[in-house]
């Protein structure tokens, strides 16, 4: 009897302590995607550091806001020195680093990378409650949903055939943000139609046979050259879609799942008239 009492007391205390646990005050993010969500949701004072990538204009949607924050390079020693009470990581963050941080007693929260808009909502929700910023989180989600709904509700006479073609011939098939975004913006995604799932290479012949009416791409590191980047300049691509050039949708909209998906969907919508 006494044992049961002790156990239930312990449980009550534990529950109380998690509820009373103050919102994180010194948050370190070691991944570009959590960087951006953190900057969107947290008070300035809650952010201890973000990764250096968050300040890069081509990959980060939040580069401007990130500019005056302390940066880290996801190295264990600099992270310890910052004494965070919460570390934000992605599911793809270096497992050895995450394990070490946890063993040293830091609270590490790992966020799944978003391949659907629902995951974006879930991530925002979860981080907002960790930060004690639930209201801001709900506002962010509502605003994103409102903008997406405006595009999705547009009546479309036709849904032109399109696909994403990236460096090294990579494309986005089923279960990707791009697939969902293309369909919401009134396009057919040929990549998922030819049976591609996730991010995978599409070979040139399959691409040509699908006869796309519009190619989308997201240029990255525009002033550099590589075999992979040269593939986007293959002469055969210029003969597609009646010589229509590829449409650019910035990488910073997709590289991480976040409310900026609404910007991407709006850009895809505008591409109908270009």
């Amino acid at each position: 009897m006494g044992r049961l009492f002790k156990q239930s007391l312990l449980l009550t205390l534990l529950l109380l302590s998690t509820q009373l646990q103050a919102a994180a005050t010194r948050v370190v993010s070691i991944n570009l995607c959590t960087d951006q969500l953190l900057l969107l949701l947290a008070d300035e004072s809650q952010v201890a550091s973000i990764t250096f990538l968050a300040q890069d204009r081509t990959s980060s949607f939040m580069a401007e806001q990130a500019a005056h924050h302390t940066v880290n390079h996801a190295r264990v020693e600099e992270l310890i020195a910052q004494q965070p009470d919460l570390v934000l990581a992605s599911e793809y963050s270096d497992p050895a680093l995450v394990l070490l941080l946890e063993r040293l007693g830091f609270q590490v929260e790992r966020f799944p990378s978003a391949n659907a808009i629902q995951t974006i909502r879930d991530n925002i929700h979860r981080l907002a409650s960790l930060l004690g910023q639930e209201r801001r989180g709900d506002q962010l989600i509502a605003e994103m949903d409102r903008r997406i709904e405006r595009i999705a509700a547009k009546p479309r006479a036709t849904r032109p055939r399109a696909l994403f073609y990236q460096v090294r011939g990579y494309t986005s098939g089923k279960n990707t943000l791009q697939d969902e975004a293309l369909q919401l913006a009134g396009w057919q995604n040929l990549s998922s139609q030819v049976g591609i799932s996730g991010y995978a290479q599409i070979d040139l012949e399959t691409l040509l046979l699908a006869e796309p009416e519009q190619l989308f791409t997201s240029s990255y590191a525009a002033n550099s050259d590589s075999i992979g980047q040269r593939q986007l300049r293959h002469p055969v691509l210029q003969q597609l879609a009646g010589g229509k050039p590829m449409a650019e949708i910035d990488y910073r909209f997709w590289i991480c799942g976040g409310p900026m998906i609404a910007d991407a969907i709006e850009a895809l919508d505008v591409a109908h008239w270009q």
Partner: protein, 332 residues
């Protein structure tokens, strides 16, 4: 087979190459009506089938033929010149040097100055690495010394390639290390063909006149000299020819190994051990082997295509081991 005359051998190989070239146009990720595509490709508004035939499959096939022929002929010429059965573009640095030259030019912006910068980089890199191996091993080098020098220079160039690709401004460069070590023929355009063609043709032309001199060299350097052959000039000519041809080819496709080693070896008995005749036959044989390897890569199942350099190395490396065992037997 030994009774086969040279003429018949060439006819047979040409026929085989022609058959492979035609069947290569039929092999791709999707079946397309080739005859219809061929007819449509002459119209003003070519269909998708015609575009696939002329812009995807044709360049790939022609590049395979040219690169294979270059590697085969260069291997035969090198083995004849150095009178060393293991001399070949892959082993004595010509190929890795070419890859290094191409990497420097492509990833650091020089290629944007003029399109022929790419093969030029490959040619210079190839010539430099080959000369380095030759100087390291010395003029009268034995097989082992030459191979050791080749191993050293290959290791150095591969390390340089990795280093440079890590430092390159393009975020995609690092992922392409494998491509330069095990080359690929996929996704090339007719533009790539025009870029590699001048250098390879010039190299072939230079090799063409060397046949008789290399034949004479089989009798020994002194005998060859007494027959009026300027060894110094011959050496430079072959080195330059190999650099021109291999450098241009590899700068577009990446290193494709072992063709220059295997093909001359297999064919040598068929041409009565004469380097001059071996070069032409090896060119045809190299083209056949690389084209066959590339067709098999396209036929393999799997979502991502394997680099053709993987196949040639898979076939070539065991053959190389066999050659080492064979030469060891003679030496011991």
């Amino acid at each position: 087979m030994n009774k086969l005359s040279q003429k018949h051998l060439l006819q047979l190989f040409t026929l085989l190459l022609a058959a492979l070239t035609v069947s290569s146009l039929f092999v791709g990720s999707n079946p397309i009506p080739i005859v219809q595509a061929l007819l449509e490709s002459f119209s003003d508004d070519p269909s998708i089938f015609a575009i696939i035939l002329t812009e995807v499959r044709l360049p790939r096939t022609l590049i395979a033929v040219i690169v294979g022929a270059t590697l085969g002929a260069s291997g035969a010429a090198m083995q004849g010149l150095l009178r060393n059965p293991l001399a070949s573009p892959g082993l004595i640095g010509s190929a890795s040097g070419a890859a290094l030259g191409a990497v420097i030019v492509l990833y650091f912006g020089l290629v944007s100055l003029f399109s022929l910068a790419l093969p030029l980089g490959g040619i210079i890199g190839s010539l430099f690495a080959t000369l380095l191996v030759y100087l390291l091993s010395g003029r009268q080098a034995g097989t082992v010394t030459l191979i050791l020098a080749g191993v050293a220079v290959n290791a150095l160039t591969l390390a340089m390639i990795s280093l440079l690709l890590n430092l390159a401004p393009s975020p995609y460069a690092v992922q392409e290390i494998v491509l330069w070590m095990l080359g690929s023929l996929a996704n090339h355009s007719l533009d790539d063909l025009w870029v590699m063609l001048p250098g390879t043709l010039l190299g072939w032309a230079l090799l063409l006149g060397c046949g008789r001199k290399l034949d004479a060299l089989t009798l020994g350097e002194e005998t060859a000299q007494s027959m009026g052959i300027n060894l110094f000039r011959l050496r430079w000519r072959v080195f330059l020819a190999v650099a021109l041809a291999v450098g241009s080819a590899i700068s577009v496709t990446g290193s494709i190994g072992f063709i220059g080693l295997v093909v001359p070896h297999l064919l040598r008995p068929l041409v009565g051990y004469q380097p001059g005749r071996l070069m032409t036959v090896s060119a045809l044989g190299g083209a056949i082997l690389l084209l066959a390897a590339d067709i098999s890569v396209r036929l393999l199942p799997g979502s991502t295509e394997i680099n053709v350099g993987v196949i040639t190395s898979l076939v070539g490396a065991p053959f190389f081991l066999y050659l080492i065992l064979k030469t060891r037997r003679y030496q011991l």
